[in-house]
């Protein structure tokens, strides 16, 4: 029996309509990422005290000025997470007396995201304040550049300082990156800092599971 070809073509058409890719971009938080790395030979339980200076280093391209209004929030969140993992802030803040020193930095970078369009089907209805120019739906090949902000910190093991060179190894580092925006930056910062610790369970003073962050 020969099947009616029209019916088969209709089935194929329905399947073709179903061929769609997921829409990933759902807001600024879609662009937030957290990256962490650590020295696999480090014993994070080898010490309990840390020093976290109350200033953050800032890195920006020429002419750009970094907003410092979130610095204390960032430092407080890092500090509270470290304390939740069993570390104790050194009383006098002297790096020489502490086991670990944690240094934080913020930076601004410009990102070209033209490669997104192929992957995401070429539609983006949003406009992000950090962008150089918005995307116009319907015009293929649009390249967009926008500005991202990064927060990073490194954890240095003072006890492993090389006396000959004076170099102190970084045993853990975290980088947070996301779009600069006027919106919910404080909440995004807290969430990303917490995530950096959550995906770094080895940063703890004891082998037992880390206590919940206060």
């Amino acid at each position: 029996m020969r099947l009616p070809l029209v019916c088969l073509l209709l089935v194929g058409f329905v399947l073709a309509l179903a061929s769609c890719t997921p829409n990933r971009i759902s807001g600024n938080t879609s662009f937030d990422l957290v990256a962490t790395s650590y020295d696999h030979g480090e014993n994070f339980a080898s010490g309990t005290t840390f020093v976290l200076p109350d200033t953050i280093a800032h890195i920006a391209d020429g002419g750009e000025t970094l907003d410092t209004q979130y610095d204390q929030q960032i430092l407080a969140r890092i500090r509270s997470n470290l304390q939740a993992r069993g570390y104790v802030a050194d009383a006098d803040g002297d790096p020489v007396d502490a086991d670990f020193v944690v240094l934080a930095v913020t930076a601004i970078t410009t990102v070209d995201v033209s490669s997104y369009w192929g992957a995401w089907g070429g539609w983006w209805g949003g406009y992000y304040p950090g962008g150089s120019y918005p995307y116009y739906p319907g015009y293929g090949g649009t390249t967009i550049q926008f500005t991202t902000g990064s927060v990073g910190w490194g954890m240095f093991d003072v006890n492993r300082r090389d006396p000959a060179t004076g170099a102190t190894p970084v045993v853990w580092m975290a980088i947070l990156n996301g779009l600069l925006d006027e919106g919910n930056v404080p909440a995004r910062l807290d969430k990303s800092i917490d995530q950096a610790f959550a995906q770094s369970p080895y940063v703890v003073t004891s082998p037992s599971p880390p206590a919940p962050r206060p």
Binding site: R2, L3, S19, D32, V34, T36, Y116, A119, F146, Q199
Partner: protein
Amino acid sequence: MRRPGLVLPVVGLVCLVCLVCLVALAPVPPARADDTMYIGCYQMSYPVGMTQDWVKNESWVGLSIEGRHFLEPSLSVGGLLGAHSLYDRSFAVTQLGSFDVSGDQYRNLTVFPILGTVHVYVGDTEGTRLFAGVGAGAYVYRQLLDVGAYSLYETVWHVGVAPELGVSFPVEWNSRIFVQGRFHYPFRGGPYLDGQSHSYPFVSLGVGFGKDPL
């Protein structure tokens, strides 16, 4: 990004050349032009095994074109070109080199099989026919990760095999509709974005049309 090694592509090409030579040297009567069937298929894909570590969703994006040259009514040899796009959205922590990265991720595997094929058939040439076959050759895998404001990709060549089962029905215009399932198994290759070698197998289900030469 790292460049794919030359060994696997060369081996894949050698396999293809061998299959082509087998076809060319086969002791059969001179072929008529209508001994060759061309088939276009819409392909759905399902990740299996290690592939599910990267993408878990079934894919509705894929196609293949295939040529089958009939040496006799129950035996054909040919070649296949395909494209399958498997994708997923994930928030899991991903290893990229020495970094653990988290965030809203779009993960994609775009696979291009380049295979020589052999098929055997049962059933009347004028009616419904069952067939089994196997393909062998090269697979080109392009692994893409969009996370944060960044897009990373890696292209890896594999040698692989693809056993297949299917059925074809006669339809109008002296054509046939094909329904077939194929298990794509690329042998381990790399490095992928995480710096490791992997084998990402998947199953494809295809529906397509071919002009009946018999």
